[in-house]
């Protein structure tokens, strides 16, 4: 028999109290029929404990099998069968124990009908309660699931919106191009071309699409090149990729927002040169990418820095892999480290 879960455990005292009440009643009634004290106690305890066990069984079974059609016939049938079994068992056991006392045996035989009726009602009530209880729970779960589905759809939509370019990045890049046109037209043209490639990348990829690490890094380079034109004097990058992992796969455009976050965090939280380190390696059939940026522990505002950008990546990883632990952040000696773990399909 299955064990009770935590939620149902709170009903146990009530259940036990109810059984004790009926033990007491039956004991009293039996005494009135001129049955000895011992017989009355054994009889009432045995009958009611067995009955309680049957009720408990019904309640527990409903957890795993909830009849959808003809449920009331199901209740009647279950109650009937269980009451019959129960009656036969207690009659056999009680007859076996007290077979020498004729008065008791005849009372036992005469009271069979009323015992059966009582058990039938008890088990019937219990099954009805269980049925209602689990049906209601089921409905609640369905409602919750629907809510969650709606929320997910909404999130997906929001996420799509979020995936679009940071307007700040776009306008500043355009401004840089504008500045270059007069004095360095060649560079301006080069940057326009890079920005176009970058934009094309963000438009065409869908959420489920996977890229090889090599492709993703290439795309990242494009982004970093643009940022370096903007912050040339301050921004340095180090990319460190272990050998033989170029073909490992990861969701498209997952790295760029992390790096963007690191750059934003690094460049706006410190003064002077900023080095963003990106490293990728293989670890137990997963691809582990770490992005590291300097920050000022004293003034950093986690809410502002790690808020929206990383939360949406975490969400995306969760939607793709159903795991919450794939994006981790930590701080180490004035460095902020973001780690992304990408499980590989085997």
């Amino acid at each position: 028999m299955a064990s009770l879960n935590k939620n149902n455990a709170k009903y146990i005292p009530f259940f036990v109290g109810w059984a004790l009440l009926w033990i007491f009643i039956q004991w009293n009634v039996l005494l009135k029929f001129g049955i000895t004290e011992t017989e009355a106690i054994v009889d009432s305890y045995l009958s009611n404990i067995l009955l309680a066990a049957s009720c408990f069984m019904v309640f527990n079974n409903m957890k795993y099998y909830l009849p959808k059609n003809e449920k009331y016939w199901y209740i009647v049938a279950v109650s009937f069968v269980l009451s019959c079994c129960w009656l036969i068992i207690i009659r056999v056991i009680l007859w076996y124990i007290f077979k020498n006392d004729e008065h008791y045996i005849s009372t036992l035989q005469q009271s069979s009908t009323i015992r059966f009726g009582f058990a039938f009602l008890m088990i019937g009530c219990m099954s009805t309660i269980s049925l209602l209880y689990y049906t209601q729970k089921d409905q609640q779960r369905t409602i919750e699931q629907q809510k969650e589905i709606q929320q997910l759809a909404k999130d997906a939509e929001l996420f799509k919106l979020r995936q679009q370019l940071q307007p700040h990045f776009l306008f500043n890049s355009l401004n840089s191009i504008s500045a270059l046109t007069a004095t360095q037209p060649e560079n301006a043209r080069h940057m326009i071309q890079q920005l176009s490639d970058f934009l094309r990348g963000t438009i065409k990829k869908d959420d489920q699409h996977k890229n090889s690490l090599a492709e993703e890094l290439q795309y990242l380079e494009l982004y970093l090149d643009i940022e370096k034109v903007r912050f040339g004097h301050r921004l340095k990058t180090e990319i460190n990729v272990a050998e033989n992992i170029q073909q490992m796969e990861l969701p498209s455009l997952i790295l760029q927002p992390v790096v963007e976050n690191a750059i934003k965090f690094g460049l706006y939280d410190t003064i002077g040169e900023v080095t963003i380190s990106i490293a990728a390696k293989k670890e137990d059939e997963t691809l582990v990418v770490t992005v590291q940026n300097p920050f000022d522990a004293e003034t950093a505002q986690p809410l502002q820095g790690t808020g929206f950008g990383l939360a949406s990546i975490k969400r995306r990883l969760f939607l793709l892999f159903a795991r919450q632990d794939l994006l981790q952040t930590k701080t180490e000696n004035d460095h902020f480290i973001t780690t992304i773990i990408i499980p590989q399909a085997i």
């Binding site: 307007p167 700040h168 776009l170 306008f171 500043n172 355009l174 401004n175 840089s176 191009i177 504008s178 500045a179 270059l180 007069a182 004095t183 034109v229 903007r230 912050f231 040339g232 004097h233 301050r234 460049l267 706006y268 939280d269 410190t270 003064i271 000022d296 004293e298 003034t299 505002q301 809410l303 502002q304």
Partner: protein, 213 residues
């Protein structure tokens, strides 16, 4: 006429410099990478005009202005900051959205030359509006001797009035800021702060005991 360009992106400064070539009267005395350099340069050169970016390292353009006692005229240059644009529009200030054209730039300069005196009051009002933005409501920037200190708002224990200044008490000590109590009360509004007295604003999160009086 002296001017300073403050922007963390060199190409953005180059853009302004290029457009300014058409104005021989306006002399660029300094270019700054961030707000700290900006404050130093403004104190040193006392310029008539600054071109100021909003999003910059450590302290943003508005926070820099807050630390200057007598700010010069400002032309804001920004790419995309919703709260900044809101602040500008509330006070009809002139601002240049990057990337901006030469025509737009000329218009801003002309407008500025015409209404010289109004502009300064306007700057104060803009800074005040901007101080209520999400970014800035989390922290307060003060001058601490020669240095600039950024105080996260939750670390403020209480604020006390002191003539033209307010004293900001934190676990690290006491900092002065040249602002009114009203100004601080407004910018700390969203947080757990209460003005318990004409001269005191306290952080309700840090209350350990209340004595009945």
């Amino acid at each position: 006429m002296k001017c300073i360009i403050i922007d963390d992106e060199p190409l953005a400064r180059m853009m302004v410099k290029e457009y300014l070539q058409a104005y021989p009267d306006i002399e660029i005395v300094q270019e700054c990478n961030d707000g700290f350099e900006g404050i130093k340069a403004i104190q040193q050169y006392q310029p008539d005009l600054i071109f100021l970016d909003i999003q910059m390292p450590k302290i943003n353009g508005f926070e820099m202005l807050e630390l200057i006692d007598d700010p010069p005229q400002v032309i804001f240059t920004t790419a995309f900051e919703e709260y900044a644009i809101k602040a500008f529009e509330t006070h009809a200030a002139d601002y240049l959205l990057k990337p901006f054209s030469k025509e737009r730039f000329d218009k801003a300069i002309q407008k500025l030359l015409l209404q010289k005196n109004n502009a300064v009051n306007n700057t104060q009002a803009i800074v005040e509006t901007a101080s209520r933005s999400v970014v800035q409501s989390n922290r307060i920037v003060v001058k601490d001797g020669g240095k600039i200190k950024i105080i996260p708002v939750p670390q403020i224990q209480y604020v006390e009035a002191a003539d033209d200044y307010v004293k900001i008490h934190t676990a690290d000590g006491l900092f002065l800021k040249k602002k009114t109590m009203q100004y601080l009360e407004d910018s700390l509004q969203q947080q757990q702060f209460i003005r318990v007295h004409r001269s005191f604003i306290i952080n309700t999160q840090l209350i350990t005991r209340i004595d009945p009086y």
